[in-house]
């Protein structure tokens, strides 16, 4: 039997080797992309903002489709999250887009708990993915990823500063999701106010330690554009699905008596920048950040919360499994103990009940005996009475017969007496 001897040579420091000709693995990116195209992509956006800030309209404008039929009903208490999934296709790319809307955000009188349902929703998606990942028989590569990749936070165009609700919500969300703040309905603010507003917002975010999503600047191809865009955050956007004729073209715009705001005009609003950054340049990076940063953080916290550790005091391998085993045994032990307790209690209760029932039985027996005796007494009495009555009856009968006899005798005698009288008369 051949024993083994495993030798690793230069495993870590792989040597760089020049190629003497065309090998062909430069087609690897193409192979990877083709596989992804066949598979389809998915992207999930969460829109957080107060009612009436134009969230649904902006989504329609961004993706050039009419998503929802009628506007959402705003009559539920608390913040509801409504998610809708759409299948979009452009050239050969299929995208499964999920848009989650917060309905009723900021509508309540007491807004302390508004952020909770949002955080809960995001956590639920992470949890679902974690469960799938931890399954024994899993299908990760065909799993429909519902984790939120980007959160568009809609800021009301007040022109002054961020509302405290905004700050609190963004602070709670910044470690869970990529936040991209945008100023909604920005056609309500003038140019000069807008610059002041943006500066105010960014300084408030920084001073409160809110980590918003920064477009990545490590790849040279997009570093430049991303860093310029980083300076334009938050984007001031205007959304519109109606088209207006400008010159000889139909453009998406909002028409006012004093002028028309063109959505895709860079000097009117930052919509184009938002679309560029969100979709055309950084969609993949958003997905990656969600998976490698936010999801990993959630996973780590969740597993640590459940009591798992990576290294035991003596650094045993596969300790997750063993910790789980230990925990499971502990839990089974607990379960068994509790079962025992339950059983004991059950037995005891049964005993008690049995004793009670026995008592009751005894009582019933006694009662029965008593009644029986009573009944017997009564019966005896009645019999006695009956007997005496019978005697009376007998006596009476005797008397009656005697009386009758006497009577018949008397009659005879009377008859004879009458005869006698008759005879006497005759005589």
């Amino acid at each position: 039997m051949a024993a083994t001897e495993i030798a690793r040579q230069a495993g870590e420091g792989a040597r760089a080797v020049p190629l003497a000709g065309h090998v062909g693995f430069d087609s690897m990116p193409d192979q990877l992309v083709n596989k992804s195209v066949n598979h389809g992509f998915c992207f999930n956006i969460l829109c957080v903002g107060e009612t009436g800030l134009g969230k649904s309209t902006l989504m329609d404008t961004l993706f050039n489709t009419k998503f929802e039929g009628e506007p959402t009903q705003h009559n539920q208490p608390g913040v509801q999250l409504k998610s809708n999934t759409y299948e979009l296709q452009e050239s050969n790319v299929r995208l499964k887009l999920t848009v989650v809307n917060t309905v009723g955000f900021g509508d309540q009188i007491n807004k302390e708990d508004s952020y909770k349902s949002i955080v809960e929703f995001i956590d639920t998606q992470f949890e679902a993915y974690l469960q799938e990942e931890l399954k024994i028989k899993r299908t990760l590569h065909s799993y429909h990823d519902t984790r939120i990749h980007a959160c568009l936070y809609f800021i009301a165009p007040t022109g002054h500063s961020l509302k405290s609700l905004d700050l609190v919500t963004m602070k709670k969300l910044d470690s869970k999701v990529n936040i991209i703040p945008i100023i909604a309905k920005s056609d309500a603010i003038s140019k000069s106010e807008l610059t002041k507003f943006k500066i105010k917002i960014t300084s408030e975010l920084v001073s409160n330690g809110v980590q918003i999503y920064q477009f990545p600047t490590d790849d040279e191809t997009v570093a430049e554009i991303n860093s310029t865009m980083n300076g334009h955050l938050p984007f001031a956007v205007v959304g519109s699905t109606e088209e207006v004729k400008i010159g000889n073209k139909m453009v998406k715009a909002r028409q006012y008596p004093w002028g028309t705001v063109q959505v895709e005009n860079e000097s009117h609003c930052d919509f184009v920048k938002l679309r560029e950054m969100l979709i055309r340049v950084n969609m993949e990076d958003l997905r990656e950040q969600t998976h490698t940063r936010h999801y990993e953080l959630y996973r780590r916290c969740k597993l640590e919360e459940m009591g798992f550790k990576d290294t035991d005091p003596d650094c045993k391998p596969f300790s997750l499994q063993e910790t789980y085993e230990a925990k499971r045994n502990e839990f089974m032990g607990d379960l068994q103990k509790k079962e025992e307790e339950m059983r004991q209690m059950f037995v005891q209760r049964v005993k008690e009940k049995e004793a009670e029932l026995k008592e009751a039985e005894k009582e019933l027996h006694e009662k029965f005996d008593r009644l029986k005796k009573l009944h017997q007494d009564e019966k005896k009495k009645l019999e006695d009475k009956k007997k005496s009555l019978d005697d009376e009856l007998n006596g009476f009968k005797q008397k009656k017969t005697a009386a009758e006899l006497l009577q018949s005798q008397a009659q005879q005698a009377g008859g004879s007496t009458t005869l006698k009288r008759d005879k006497e008369r005759k005589n």
């Binding site: 040579q9 080797v17 190629l19 090998v23 992309v33 050039n64 209760r349």
Partner: protein
């Protein structure tokens, strides 16, 4: 014409020749089409309403892939003297084999099967790849070759284990280093008859844990008829023993895939010849083997099937090979591993590794029961 012009002209012909070698005979195995990058720039502002830009994600993915680089781990198994190292060098057009790395290559057969893995960083047109070649000297070289597949199986499973360990860590790396064996090339000596018991035994065991690509080594000793007959016998032997080599029938995704893979299945195992020396043939410098009766050109499909092998392995199916390893073989290993530590006393393994809801549910049920009493 001046000398330099001639050489330039010749170089042009060579590159065309090398490229066109492959195309006419099997168009289905040509390099995958490069997806068109979307038109970027200022044009989106002016007239293109319906263009959202979703397909820009392809470009983003490509950028990410180029930045990250790729990994490929190939294992080569076969008796000594079958030209394994030379074939590796030919495939990757550089000195990637163990013999080229070790300064004093020992030519003696090791007493025990060793597993030697060497990594290389290669780059082509901006695409970086970490290629790991895992050699198995000593396989099949002894008198008694019983269980010679065991160390290899153990190595493959160890790689899966390593990956699994990292994956279930709480604090895990962003990119788990992938040392799993993606592809195992099994070298069949060109006897011309049929599969030997050692071949059958090895392949039937290992085809369950790794993608096996069988090749007929040193195929220049077989004539074309002998080669076809040998291939047929091998295919029958594989079928008879239930050995599923790459591309496996059950993993075909759709009709197109099946069509392409059926063509490949008709051709395996590839009869290859390896060489890392160039000779002058018809005025061109080509990789080949020079003998007294002629020069065998390695990349000429009329001579041997090296080009097909290279295309399958590198140019068209590399991603697919890696996918099957990670989503099927690795998952099978994972299920097995997690089940053997998870099985409850009554022998029924639960479906989840950790299910807090279940735990909570049991506790909740328990609470309800005690309240009822």
């Amino acid at each position: 014409m001046s000398d330099s012009k001639v050489t330039a002209h010749l170089d042009g012909i060579i590159s065309d020749f090398e490229g066109s070698e492959v195309n006419p005979s099997h168009s289905n195995m040509s390099a995958p089409p490069h997806p068109q990058p979307p038109a970027k720039g200022a044009s989106h502002g002016t007239g293109d309403f319906s263009y959202v830009g979703i397909d820009a994600i392809l470009e983003q993915m490509r950028r990410k892939a180029m930045k990250q680089g790729f990994e490929l781990n190939i294992m080569i198994v076969g008796q000594s003297g079958l030209g394994k190292s030379t074939l590796m060098n030919t495939l990757f057009k550089s000195k990637v084999s163990r013999k080229s790395v070790v300064s004093n290559p020992e030519e003696r057969i090791p007493k025990t099967i060793e597993i030697k893995s060497i990594s290389h960083d290669i780059e082509e047109k901006g695409v970086r790849m970490k290629l790991t070649v895992i050699d198995t000297p000593g396989f099949g070289d002894h008198i008694n070759n019983e269980n010679c597949w065991q160390p290899i199986m153990k190595f493959i499973n160890d790689q899966y284990e390593q990956y699994l360990q990292e994956e279930i860590n709480i604090d895990r790396k962003k990119r788990i280093p992938d040392s799993r064996v993606h592809c195992c090339m099994y070298f069949i000596p060109p006897t011309g008859h049929c599969l030997r018991p050692l071949d059958v035994e090895f392949m039937s065991r290992l085809s369950k844990v790794v993608n096996i690509v069988p090749v007929i080594a040193k195929a220049d000793t077989l004539t074309l008829e002998e080669r076809d007959f040998f291939k047929q016998t091998i295919r029958e032997g594989l079928r008879a023993n239930g050995i599923d080599v790459y591309p496996q029938k059950e993993f075909d995704e759709d009709a197109d895939d099946r069509m392409i893979n059926d063509k490949i299945r008709e051709m395996i195992p590839f009869a290859v010849v390896g060489s890392d020396q160039e000779y002058q043939v018809n005025g061109k410098r080509l990789l080949g083997r020079k003998t007294k009766w002629g020069t065998i050109e390695v990349e000429n499909i009329a001579h041997c099937e090296f080009a097909y092998l290279r295309d399958l392995l590198i140019r068209t199916h590399m991603q697919n090979i890696k996918d099957i390893t990670s989503s099927i073989h690795y998952e099978v290993y994972r299920v097995r591993r997690l089940n053997e530590t998870n099985a409850q006393p009554n022998g029924q393994p639960p479906n989840t590794l950790v299910n807090p809801q279940q735990a909570n549910g049991a506790a909740a049920q328990h609470q309800v029961l005690t309240h009822e009493m």
